[in-house]
């Protein structure tokens, strides 16, 4: 049996990536001639009008929208985009004063306008709990009290309790922890990500200035659910609940209520990418904030230790995943700073709305080199057997101002020289015009309210609001089932070939670690999403963020990798010795499929 959505003799991944990614890249550049499969796709595009979408104006509100109006199942791409912007407004609103008192973290200050230029404090989402505050490496969550009325101490001041306490770096004054805690330095262990526009030479306070660093946070609803059930250290009935779900999807019989892990509607997780800004960049084009990041302290070897530094950096990416009453598989929206994708000479490829204004030369692939992916299954060994190769293509060592990544995972192409990288020329799947329109509308709204500030330089990339199978991808780029939505990815958070066109399972062991596959370990389709339908589940092999997080659902953790992985033992920091181990650190959160 072959995975969903593939037919014929071509390798399924070759078919999808080669045909659809090239097709959509071409579609975004409407003036370009298209050929072959791309031509066929474009021919099927239905004409659309902007008038339809002009009726979906969004309001500048500090209220997190509870759901897509009318419900997720029937929403259009424009509906979902409008919802995503409502989320963006609410989450980037100035937060109320952070006093540690009940009802302060994650709460917007309605008395301030969005984008208040006089406000330098944390934004609503920034006051969410960092993953280590929910899943500490040591002890209980900081401020934990067994009191649901107080949300189990959610509002306590930030404290980052890793397995061992982390001191300030040499020359860094000991400070109270800022809300933005960048304790990830890889793209879920698969690769490291860089911004070429930043000068590469280490500074006195940053050993790897080009490196983009990340955080993951969650809101009050998720924290309270975790705390109420004792899941922060995989306690309570965590194992039984995971077992109940994995058994349930195996038997395709929905488990009784409350026997599995199921976050309440209103649960939000965010992931954000931050970096140092280059002297050549205009800081007013970025949301900037004090961040805590980590560096190597002391000696190296097998047990180097971290220390922290605080600095003001710029936000380059913001993911929002939000469970709503009609979207039990979460709604995934991702935003980027406008100028992430640049040519080597520094020219942005897209504008702030996502239009491709400076397309790469004709024939340019999305990345240099551009990996070839082939899915496969070794029936004799009962093993998934995909491959990713760049053949004889050279690595991109001269990236100029481009963003670029370096793979870490054993199954992905890795260079031998330190500078061997993969440079980003364009997205695998361009931003659909309906999303571009939503961006334009949002920017106009911000401008009208005098709230543009840095926020006019952020754009929605795409939204996923319900799962569908790769075989149901619609060539219309604005269809709810368009390929860019299917493969939702942020260009600085999910950049490499696995993540830009994800679907199926992420292989977590062996020589193919870090490669995706649509096969399960028995040779059938790996379905990464399971939606309750009566007493059974509807299963999907979804792509992009939702499909990837679906791996955490399959593992029983209801789409949450931070719950799936559990205790955060150490903050990450740039250290080649440890970089080599990080793939397995992350992927061990996944099931061995």
């Amino acid at each position: 049996m072959r995975p969903n959505g593939f037919a014929g003799s071509l390798s399924p991944r070759v078919a999808l990536v080669a045909a659809l990614s090239v097709a959509l890249f071409a579609l975004a550049c409407r003036e370009k001639a298209t050929t072959g499969t791309a031509e066929a796709v474009q021919a099927s595009v239905k004409p659309r009008t902007l008038a339809l979408k002009s009726t979906r104006a969004t309001a500048l509100s500090p209220t997190l929208p509870p759901d897509i109006p009318g419900g997720a199942p029937t929403a259009t791409l424009a509906d979902a985009a409008a919802f995503a912007w409502q989320e963006f407004f609410a989450l980037n609103w100035p937060a109320v004063a952070q006093t540690g008192q009940v009802g302060t973290r994650g709460v917007a200050d309605g008395g301030r306008p969005f984008g208040d230029p006089t406000y330098t404090g944390p934004l609503v989402w920034e006051t969410y709990r960092s993953k280590v505050e929910i899943f500490p490496g040591n002890g209980e969550p900081p401020g934990y009290v067994q009191n649901a009325a107080n949300a189990y101490g959610f509002d306590a001041a930030p404290a980052y309790n890793y397995l061992r306490s982390v001191p300030p770096c040499s020359g860094q004054k000991a400070e109270a922890p800022p809300f933005v805690n960048l304790d990830e330095v890889t793209q879920i262990g698969l690769d490291t990500m860089y911004a070429g526009i930043v000068p590469p030479a280490p500074t006195a306070t940053n050993s790897d200035p080009q490196r983009i660093r990340f955080l993951a946070k969650a809101n009050r609803d998720q924290y309270a659910y975790v705390a109420a059930n004792g899941y922060w250290n995989h306690g309570g009935n965590y194992y039984a609940a995971v077992n109940a779900f994995t058994n349930a999807i195996k038997t395709n019989q929905v488990a009784p209520a409350n026997t599995t892990i199921f976050f309440p509607a209103g649960t939000v997780e965010v992931k954000a990418g931050w970096r140092m800004l280059a002297p050549s960049e205009d800081p007013t084009h970025f949301h900037t904030q004090t961040v805590r990041y980590y560096e190597k302290a002391g000696t190296g070897g097998t047990s180097p230790t971290p220390c922290y530094r605080d600095a003001i950096w710029g936000l380059v990416a913001l993911h929002i995943i939000h469970k709503t009453p009609t979207a039990p598989t979460f709604i995934f929206a991702t935003f980027e700073q406008a100028d992430n994708i640049r040519a080597a000479n520094g020219t942005p490829v897209e504008d702030a709305n996502g239009n491709i204004t400076h397309p790469p030369p004709a024939g340019t692939q999305p990345t240099s080199p551009y990996p070839t992916y082939t899915d496969g299954y070794n029936a004799g060994a009962h093993q998934q057997d995909p491959s990713v190769t760049i053949g004889s293509q050279p690595f991109c060592d001269n990236h100029g101002s481009q963003i670029f990544y370096k793979n870490l995972a054993p199954g992905l192409p890795r260079g031998k020289a330190p500078d061997d990288a993969v440079c980003i020329n364009a997205r695998y799947f361009s931003i659909p015009s309906d999303v571009i329109t939503a961006n334009s509308q949002a920017h106009q709204m911000l401008a009208a309210a005098g709230a543009g500030g840095p926020w006019q330089y952020y754009k929605l990339v795409n939204v996923q609001w319900r799962p569908f199978n790769p075989g149901d991808i619609n060539p219309d780029p604005n269809s709810p089932d368009n390929v860019a939505t299917f493969s939702l990815a942020n260009i600085v958070v999910e950049t490499n070939s696995t993540l830009q066109a994800f679907q199926g399972a992420l292989i977590a062991n062996g020589p193919d670690t870090g490669v995706k596959t649509s096969y399960n370990n028995a040779g059938g389709t790996f379905n990464n999403i399971h939606v309750v339908a009566g007493t059974q589940y509807n299963a999907f092999n979804m792509g992009g963020c939702m499909g990837c997080h679906g791996n955490a659902q399959v593992a029983g953790a209801d789409f949450s990798f931070i719950l799936n992985i559990g205790g955060v033992f150490f903050p990450e920091y740039p250290e080649p010795v440890l970089d080599a181990t990080r793939t397995t650190r992350y992927l061990k959160g996944l099931q061995s499929h």
Binding site: N138, R164, N243, H382, G566, F570, R585
Partner: protein
């Protein structure tokens, strides 16, 4: 040259069964037992009638040149090499009922504990009451020892087999229900004159036929009340010395110089899945650190930081074990993947930080300093005492020696590629294998042997239990070792006396354990803050993959269908109802065995007598009349798993 004779294994392990037939204990760690006729790995754990086969432990004599410390030994067999016969003497006994109550680490001598004698026999905090304390007459207490006396077979004028049949209150069917204790096993010779020790039948019963609580319905009348101490109860596990005399063709007799010991203990239901810490690991750790067993590795009170590890033989086996726990416990998918990962990690990639560092001795884990006590660390196995407030030891760790070996590997202190340390000679390998198939922790109390294995006073030399001189039937000591010292040696029944009474109660309850991460208490009344750890699922499986009646391939409780089924509805919510069921159904449980399936190798549950489990009715024993019995209604439906997680029952006063 002087020849000395040693019996191997040093500590053998026979296992109980209901059948008169048997298989032979495996000679490799994680190996299947072997057929006594063909010598091939067994394909069934039951006889043709469905009864559970016993595991016989074969003991052999090896001769050594005592001037050559590297002599690997030569096996001595009757009828060759000038040996006419081997005369074997074995003395099995069970002292559980006249010993002290098992109170976790209290009495162990650890952390300033004064031992049973010093703690006193009272029931106050930190004290050690006796079992059956209502029986105070010394003679009556002596009668609590199941003591069939020694048996000798082989050699001149001796039989070729003998049994350890017993008499006493515990053997009277009218007094002991549901099963009388009629024997502790038997011994016989194999074709080479070697010794085979067969353990008991797995019978457990009580003379205490009075209701445990007059307010309880009759169904609970004979329920066990605690996991480790139940007055009136007896079981037929055992232990004792194994010695031999070589009868030469010249007519001379030569006693073996180094005798052995045999345990007669419960089955290992997952024979191919080794515990993360085996009994070999624990006793080896004692030998290394306290008995100068491997001075290159440890001397002068410290491990040698320059020791180069033999990765395939000293480290990889430690790293490989966790992976197989997925077949006997409900390891979440993330854990399964992580366990697979560490079997493949390079030294640089291995997450050494996730190992819980052993702090010497384990009981010192009460230390409230440092992060080593974080609940997230591995292995996720319960410690010696996560349940009561005295001498807490919440979490199991690798032994200090295991931990050091892994640490050396991570640090790059490994033998040059292509070199290994010498392999064990066959006789030493037999010693090792017997212990590798046993639980090396946690000891609360454990299955085969408890924390007494960490007490060097029980040993004459590494791995060898020191025999008491000339133990006599009817005169076995009631107090030997109550000060945690065995200067006069170990008597029959002295090893097993620490274990739960009856073993089935502990066996049923030792599945998983909620542990309070708060270092200042073991109170788990707040189920939310408790974290569930496993005990020793490699020995007593918790969740398994049945090979039949499970087309979806889901993982199910090993004790599914029990009245306290973890996935069922506990209609009988009184504690220990499942303990009583284990007394009846232990013989019906499935074994977890490696199977080659269309999707690759899997360890699946086989040979389960499910009807006997699902049709189980609590025994209605005299003096209860049939009319007084309640009719059981089998529970239906499911409950939230948390509701059936219970802390082990702590005796009142604890």
């Amino acid at each position: 040259m002087a020849t000395i004779y040693k019996i191997h294994p040093a500590i053998g392990v026979a296992r109980i069964g209901t059948s008169s037939q048997f298989y032979i204990a495996p000679d490799t760690g994680g190996g299947l037992p072997t057929d006594p006729v063909t010598g091939q790995p067994v394909t069934s754990f039951r006889d043709s009638t469905g009864d559970l086969l016993k595991q016989a432990q074969r003991f052999r004599v090896f001769s050594y040149d005592d001037t050559n410390p590297n002599d690997p030994g030569t096996e001595v067999t009757a009828g060759s090499g000038g040996v006419a016969a081997i005369e074997w003497t074995v003395y099995l006994a069970n002292k559980k009922a006249c010993w002290y109550q098992f109170e976790q680490l209290t009495g162990s001598g650890m952390e300033g504990d004064e031992g049973y004698l010093g703690n006193g026999q009272g029931t106050g905090p930190g004290m050690n009451p006796l079992r059956n304390m209502g029986i105070t007459d010394p003679a009556a207490r002596q009668a609590l020892i199941i003591d069939p006396g020694p048996r000798t077979i082989g050699g001149n004028g001796n039989p070729t087999s003998a049994d350890f049949n017993v008499s006493g209150a515990f053997s009277d069917p009218a007094q002991t229900q549901p099963y009388p204790i009629t024997t502790l096993g038997s011994i016989q010779l194999d074709a080479n004159g070697n010794l085979l020790v067969l353990a008991g039948n797995g019978s457990s019963g009580t003379t205490n036929l009075k209701p445990a609580d007059p307010n309880l319905p009759p169904v609970y009348e004979y329920a066990l009340t605690a996991y480790a101490n139940n007055d009136g109860w007896f079981d037929d596990v055992s232990d004792g010395p194994v010695s031999a005399t070589i009868v030469l063709t010249t007519g001379a007799s030569v006693p073996v110089d180094v005798p052995a010991w045999c345990l007669g203990v419960p089955p290992k239901y997952a024979p191919q899945i080794m515990n993360q810490v085996t009994l070999f690991d624990t006793i080896y750790d004692v030998a290394v650190r306290m008995q100068n067993y491997n001075p290159e590795l440890y001397s002068g009170g410290a491990f040698n930081p320059g020791y180069l590890v033999d990765f395939p033989n000293e480290v990889a086996p430690i790293l490989d074990r966790a992976n197989l726990y997925q077949w006997v416990a409900e390891i979440p998918p993330a854990g399964v993947t992580a366990h697979i990962g560490i079997t493949q990690d390079s030294a640089a990639a291995f997450p050494f930080y996730i190992l819980r560092a052993p702090i010497m001795p384990p009981a010192v884990q009460n230390d409230t300093n440092g992060t080593n006590l974080d609940v997230n660390l591995m292995p996720k196995l319960a410690g010696d005492n996560p349940i009561s407030q005295f001498t807490r030891s919440k979490y199991l760790t690798l032994t200090q020696t295991q931990y050091f070996l892994v640490q050396q590997w991570v640090s790059g202190n490994v033998l040059p590629a292509g070199t290994t340390r010498p392999t064990l000679p066959p006789a030493a390998a037999i010693d090792r294998a017997a212990l590798e198939n046993c639980v090396g922790g946690a000891f609360c109390p454990g299955i085969e042997m408890t924390w007494i294995c960490r007490n060097t006073s029980i040993y004459s030399q590494p791995f060898r239990i020191q025999h008491a001189t000339n133990p006599q039937q009817g005169k076995l000591s009631q107090t030997n070792g109550d000060d945690n010292l065995y200067p006069h040696g170990v008597e029959p029944g002295d090893i097993i006396k620490y274990m739960a009474q009856p073993w089935q109660a502990d066996f049923n309850e030792c599945s998983n354990q909620p542990i309070n991460p708060d270092l200042t208490t073991n109170d788990t009344s707040n189920a939310v803050t408790a974290v569930t750890f496993w005990w020793w699922p490699a020995q007593r499986p918790y969740f398994v993959y049945p090979s039949v009646d499970n087309p979806s391939g889901t993982q199910l409780p090993w004790t599914r269908g029990f009245l306290d089924d973890p996935n069922g509805t506990p209609t009988y919510s009184m504690p220990n109802v499942g303990d009583m069921q284990m007394v009846m159904n232990w013989k019906d449980m499935g074994f977890i065995v490696l199977q080659q399936t269309p999707t690759g190798p899997q360890y699946l549950e086989v040979e389960r007598n499910t009807p006997a489990i699902t049709n189980y009715q609590p025994p209605l024993l005299p003096p209860m009349s049939a009319a007084a019995a309640v009719t059981l209604t089998r529970p239906t439906g499911r409950i939230a798993p948390r509701a059936v997680r219970r802390a082990r029952q702590i005796p009142s006063g604890k």
